[in-house]
Symmetry: C2
Subunit: 447 residues, 2 copies
């Protein structure tokens, strides 16, 4: 028997640490992102946990070492931190470099990579990028996108905890789909059919009866057969649900404050990544404009010259038109649309008593794309039973879910934000596969 | 069009807020956990986001109101915060109560609950507890268990971020199982067979090549057909993987510091819940003892009088015996066991060059149960190919995973902790279903 101590410090020197260590000797490690060999020596840029670090080595006495170095080798560098002015935005920190005193090669790849990871932009065909994801993600631009996505998700959780929300983890295998329809994956569960969760909706509502305010960050699964730039079949849903609301507008209020917090947080902690990506971050000044679906149709019609007044939903073309209008006229990249018709919203959506046929629901559009769906839910047992019946559903199929309503639930509502979608819109990335670590679509199950 | 503002404060008054508001008028809401009607009035205990709050109402002029109140109604209470000494540990804060001035009933249940949520302990048969999970979780003891689980998961993430780890989200649907064997669920993926992830192992290792240090908190799926108190078929795996390690002991070092942090954090933020549950929290003073599997067999043999020396793995009986020994002799509820044999560990496990036939792997046992499996992984491409071949696996079946090795990976390792298991052991809960919000097992897919 021996003992393993808690007291050994395994914390890595961060980019910020190094920026403040001019003149100090350090030992750092990383994988070689790129190497430029010149007459006098070489620039070696290594990839570390929080960015790229530039190391400079002289040739004298190091000829053999330098000749042997190549991309994607793992190395340990001993050297002196020295002030430098590095313009390349992929390097973090840009204010210091390492004057190399010694390099130990820790591991070498079996083959050179088939793609050039030293290029400023990795302009691969998207299928190549995704086929080679374990490599393409080693590129600074690709890494930066996911770092921003993670910062956003973290801010979501931090903000909500501070507002009294409890994080929950709900099952991804179950017996029924919350969102209905055919877009549901079947699992063989010990010989019985089961389904992958399309959303944590039922469990969030049960959670309101338990903790009043709950949130979840987790995967959801949609068996949608279409192959578009804004759909993937497994994505990360940022969900919350809160009790004791007056109506859907309180959910929108919470989301507005939440988004403002998340955007501020991302700008604070991901400054190097945002600079590298030249991201045009939106600003939420004090508020977000809200229109009803009927108003949205009218405005979209003004932009495109078409008549949408009889449409039951917002078409992608309308989403883009309304966002253009909002940006130009209301100075907002975000716009809420409320009061979708009853038949276009799931059975748990609360109808608007003041506007029969419409619901107390909303979408949030951002730069031309729907990134949130939310609204007030039905909390009364009989009202929910009646609405299920009117939609041709059998309440007995939902008996475990309906326990929550039967034994009491306060008025409540919530929403879901698609993490990959909002990240893509924030960064101006056209295809949400590129803001997903390992995307899944109808044609892709690997890597 | 109107605008929804960011500036409205929707933050709820917390228990800590109320404790400091003696003499102030407040408006709070919640669901009635229990009500005791007496000659002079009533005690009404409401369930809020962070615990139970006691409200006191006089009968004079309130007869009708009090008569109408019942458990699981949602109410809004206006009243005065007043100092009180409440012994009931389920109430938080125990230092104040609300002198009711007015009550508005916001919603009422359709039926009274079939179980008594006002009891101190909810002594239900486990199947009844789980069948009625949306209700049973409304009991303070059940709520408290999951609050502690969430605090632990949050601490896991916070600690690792501070150590330079990047959070990742990896696909739960894929083409192959990381852990092999038959315990894998099949999904119908657009007519093709796919599988639910048994662990994020492959993706974590790819992540090391990208971010050097990565972690994930997410669901994993094991189609194990046994129905025991320590197995569920969908659970939360706390995973990390780190590059540039010397060997498996650096992973154990990281885990030791991590666990110390998590335990401290839970004690800090969940004091009311721990008091309610009368939890006997373990203390990690400075270190955790480590034994090899051979030593573990010997010690377990001393305790039970049996000979385990030819066993290739640790049996549950041995795990309990070793933990008893560790607690009594080494003053530690935790004990690491290292050097499991090659044939008992997955193909990605690194063999110990100094002890052929054994691996640089470990389990962490805690109070009689394995709660972590970890170790160093193979980072060299050819070594991994050779080991796969020696285990009868075809490397071509893993070609997208092996990109990471082929194009370079530093020496690395990691581990996985089962969240439900460690929470159960922390709280002395016999069945991990009771530290799971909505458990899944061979017989249970609902609620």
């Amino acid at each position: 028997m021996y003992r393993v101590s808690t007291s050994v410090d395994q914390r890595l020197l961060s980019a910020a640490d190094l920026a403040g260590m001019d003149g100090q000797q350090v030992v750092v490690h990383g994988m070689i992102q790129r190497i430029r060999k010149l007459g006098w020596g070489a620039f070696i840029v290594i990839r570390r946990q929080d960015g790229l670090l530039q190391c400079v080595i002289g040739r004298d006495g190091n000829e053999e070492l330098i000749d042997g170095l190549a991309e994607e080798q793992s190395i340990q560098v001993t050297g002196m931190v020295k002030k430098a002015k590095i313009k390349d935005k992929s390097i973090n920190p840009g204010s210091v470099e390492i004057q190399v005193e010694g390099i130990e090669v820790v591991s070498v790849p079996a083959e050179l990579t088939p793609i050039d990871l030293s290029k400023k932009i990795l302009d691969l065909h998207i299928d190549t990028n995704l086929d080679l994801r374990p490599l393409s993600l080693r590129h600074p631009v690709e890494r930066a996108r996911l770092k921003i996505s993670e910062a956003f998700a973290r801010a979501f959780a931090d903000f909500l905890r501070d507002q009294g929300f409890t994080e929950i983890r709900t099952p991804k295998i179950g017996v029924a789909g919350a969102e209905g329809g055919a877009n549901i994956f079947t699992v063989d569960y010990f010989g019985k059919p089961a389904y992958l969760a399309q959303s944590p909706q039922f469990y969030k509502q049960m959670g309101v009866g338990i903790y009043e305010r709950v949130f979840e960050v987790g995967p959801v699964f949609r068996a949608e057969p279409h192959q578009t730039s804004r759909h993937i079949n497994e994505y990360t849903s940022l969900d919350f649900e809160m009790g004791f609301v007056k109506d859907h507008t309180e959910i929108m209020l919470m989301e507005t404050a939440l988004l403002k917090y998340c955007l501020d947080y991302v700008q604070k902690v991901c400054a190097p990544e945002l600079a590298l990506l030249e991201a045009d971050m939106p600003v939420i000044e004090d508020d977000i404009p809200v229109v009803t679906l009927a108003e949205a149709h009218e405005i979209a019609g003004q932009v495109t010259g078409k008549d949408y007044s009889s449409e039951p939903d917002l078409e992608p073309e309308e989403e883009r038109a309304l966002c253009t209008y909002s940006s130009e006229n209301w100075n907002s990249d975000f716009v809420f649309v409320t009061h979708f018709p009853t038949e276009k919203r799931p059975f748990y959506t609360k109808d608007d008593p003041a506007n029969p046929g419409t619901t107390l629901s909303f979408d949030l559009l951002f730069r031309g794309l729907e990134i949130t769906t939310g609204g007030q839910r039905i909390n009364d047992y009989q009202e929910q039973i009646d609405k299920m019946a009117s939609m041709g559903l059998n309440p007995e199929d939902f008996s475990s879910y309906l326990q929550a309503h039967k034994y009491g639930l306060p008025p409540h509502g919530g929403l879901a934000i698609g993490l990959e979608r909002i990240t893509a819109r924030l960064l101006g990335v056209e295809n949400i596969r590129l803001t997903t670590m390992f995307p899944r679509d109808i044609k892709r199950l690997t890597p």
